[in-house]
Amino acid sequence: MTNHYIDFRNADVILNMGGNVAENHPVSFKWIEAACEKGATFIHVDPRFTRTSAKADIYVRLRSGTDIAFLGGMIKYILDNGLYDEFYVKNYTNATFILSDQYAFDDGLFAGYDPTKRSYDKSKWAYEKDEKGIPKRDMSLKHPRCVFQLIKKHYDRYTLQKVTTITGTPEDDLVKVYKTYGSTGRPDKAGTELYAMGWTQHTVGTQNIRAMCIIQLLLGNMGIAGGGVNALRGESNVQGSTDHALLFHIIPAYLPTPRAKLQTLADYNATTPKTNDPRSANWWQNRPKYLVSLLKSMFGEKATKDNDFGYSWLPKLEDTQNASWLNLFDEMYKGKFTGFLAWGMNPACSSANAGKVREAMTKLDWMVNVNVFDSETGSFWKGPGMDPKKIKTEVFQLPCAAFMEKEGSISNSGRWMQWRWKAANPPGDAMPDGEIMYDLMKKVKALYKKEKGAFPDPILNLKWDYETRGKLDIHAVAKEINGYDLTTGKLVANFTKLKDDGTTSCGNWLYSGSYTEDGNMAARRKKTDPTGLGLFPEWSWCWPVNRRIIYNRASVDLEGKPRNPAKAVIKWDAEAKKWVGDVPDGGWPPMGNDGFYPFIMKPDGVASVFGPGLADGPFPEHYEPLECPIEKNIMSSQRINPVIKIFEGGPDSFATCDPRYPFVCTTYRVTEHWQTGVLTRWLPWLVEAEPQVFCEMSQELAKLRGIGNGDKVLVETSRGKVEATAIVTLRLKPFVVAGQTVHLIGLPYHYGWLHPKDGGDSANLLTPTIGDPNTMIPESKAFMANVKKV
């Protein structure tokens, strides 16, 4: 999130699109209600009518997988009606930048497409630069190749008539949403967008969010109170686990993972983002300090200038290798791995095409599964269709402590890092995850010390000294993450103190400042609110440097005056020569006519309405989901996203416009369960409330298929089948798409064969192995299925 949960109350218009906030983030809904009590309008756009829709001022339906068409129409509406914030667009975005004459867009493809590689040459999307290497700009926004004019041209094609044909949303409904949301383009109005997996789990997931970013930037809604593009993330610490880089493509705090071509520290540092523009702060220029400090945290005194601080001990991926989730399980299915750690996860139910994942686990020699309860992953070898006698995989099931049985911090979507105290001991032999991995690594180190083996250096040199009296001390790890001045042994105050010469350590630069000589900042519980905006700067701690609303320098004018004085996030005190309010995005004086631009993490210093870094184009364009109900994309000859990676053969199959799978299917969650139900399916109260998997469908579809409410039905895709209880409901309605009737069905994915006994199996047995080309997040929100009475 750019903003945070309490900040919803500062919005004038709240759009929840790509999510179901009332059911999936229930307690945050109080801040939407607080906004509405003060006169805000709440809009819900979703294929299903949910409890969120029931509370919305405006509810509008769209077909799953057509969000870009919907939002493309909104961009056109905002531009056609002059609703955009001209000052903001000119000064704080790249709308004024002029593109080179190589940029083009034609019939669904941007310039530079190579059909054999299914990828783009992004150099065709470059800016024209002046003699100093600074992008050329046209402050009048009139140059035919300036970004602003190209946005206009691109989205001029998204007429109401076309958008309606694609989305199935009536034109009146579109206009109602466009007009209401477009009203926040004034400096004294704020609009916020709340999204979740309803946007990310598509083959155009990243571009769904990009489309909204364009809208928010046109309306001047980024960096302000009540604004932002806000991901309502699904897990209590998925923000923290992402920050700490439990992902193939990053190491802690969003540094790219080293690749084979970057053999030395100097090679890696040569890729540090650069700018020729003296007005761009280009904060990432500090990256070498963060990497060396991270290496010092990992390898301690063994990391020296002479050995590149142990850079060669970090594993290197191949230059273009993508080791993300779907590829990981594809490789496992093909037998690449002998060992597998499924730590605090249940991929046998949570992964798209879960049947393939379950089969893949039979190819392993050994697997470790750490969890609070038994799961379909740990017990995969005795699941449906498995013959344990034929499965060679050795399985270790390690019992871990639950959240109230250990101490440590978690980070919520608003980047608040909150400390949890330990209330009780874990039952039986269960141990906190941290203690398990700490003890395990001690044994691995001892083994390599004794027996040597393949390249033992990183293992033997790893600094692993976080214990007190033989037991992991979580505070010692928290301090390591914050970082030390190694010349004094004192904790650093924040990341501005980090150096690239080996005299500082820091496990994660974004968390530097969280545990200082002043104490454990995440454990703070003081409820002061000096701005009155609900920032609560002394409650817990927030990355970066306790800044509660990021990009906040975009909330003020060139002199540092708040553009909306009633909700001032920061303001410049000219006499004292300092900022007051939230922690500003850099303490420099206001931008003026020669100061720093506000978007300090971007090399150009401004926000990107034009996004040349993405795999599938600089502007979001509508493509149909991989599996869709219509033969032709209304917008172009490219039916599906032209750069997605297609997995074919074996357990991977797809069916588009196939009469065997005529209905659009989507997966989702209910309030009473969480993710695969790996915790909640074991709790009696919750199982009583939501005991089994169900399939929702409209009355029209139920009539068509002779299905009654409560009947047992079979939902089937080309990959798998799930038995469910039918819920025939008014909440779902057929869509009229391109002149034909399209039905939608949906299932929650919380269940699994293991427990409760009659709860049913995972809806992910149905979903396809296909991902967004930027993130590789699977398309679990729009695929084709059949449903019939059992």
């Binding site: 949960y5 750690l341 038994d374 919520n412 001991n425 690594m441």
Partner: protein, 190 residues
């Protein structure tokens, strides 16, 4: 006013289940409710924590008795985001701590076996460490096909976990990367 003890309160509740409404019993329920509220946390220790489910991160107060057993969990009224509120899941979190189905023992399933066997931590961690070493040593790539040094373990993959604390996540990625793993993924990708 009649004084109630816990047994009386349960009797009243029992009658409710049998089909009578409380108002039909004809007495003031205020002291019953007050007593019940007091009972839950009497002599208990309250520990603040944060909910384990979605990313709103509501405050929860966990009450433990003198033996350290969890006896209650409820919303933390001081928490600025949740202000004491919890959803159905958060409100049930007490049942995570007090639950017969919790994994209490380390379990091992041998190749081609049809059942679990309970084992000790030491035995399991020794064997996992040996497995890690065997898989790593067998699959370790010092140089790739282009002769570039990659120092990578290709034969082990890991998924997990957003369910861990920050400190554990950092420690876990450090552990995995020092082993040379590159197939490192978790919930954020799906």
């Amino acid at each position: 006013m009649k004084a109630f003890n816990r047994r009386d309160f349960l009797k009243v509740s029992g009658v409710t289940v049998a089909g009578l409404t409380l108002s039909q019993l004809g007495f003031d329920l205020t002291p019953v409710q007050a007593y019940a509220a007091e009972l839950r946390t009497k002599g208990a220790k309250e520990t603040p924590t944060i909910c384990c489910y979605c990313s709103v991160s509501c405050g929860i107060l966990v009450s433990t008795d003198k033996k350290g057993k969890v006896i209650n969990s409820e919303g933390d009224p001081d928490h600025p985001i949740s202000e004491g509120a919890l959803c159905a899941k958060g409100a049930s979190s007490y049942q995570i701590a007090v639950n017969d189905a919790r994994l209490r023992k380390v379990r091992y399933r041998a190749p081609n076996s049809t059942q679990w066997k309970e084992v000790s931590w030491d035995w399991a961690l020794d064997k996992i460490a040996a497995n890690i070493k065997k898989s790593r040593d067998k699959s370790f790539v010092v140089k790739n096909n282009d002769g570039k040094v990659v120092n990578r373990t290709d034969g082990i993959a890991s998924v997990g976990s957003a369910a861990m604390d920050n400190e554990e996540c950092w420690l876990y990625q450090t552990f995995l990367r020092s082993l040379g793993l590159v197939y490192i993924e978790h919930q954020a990708r799906i």
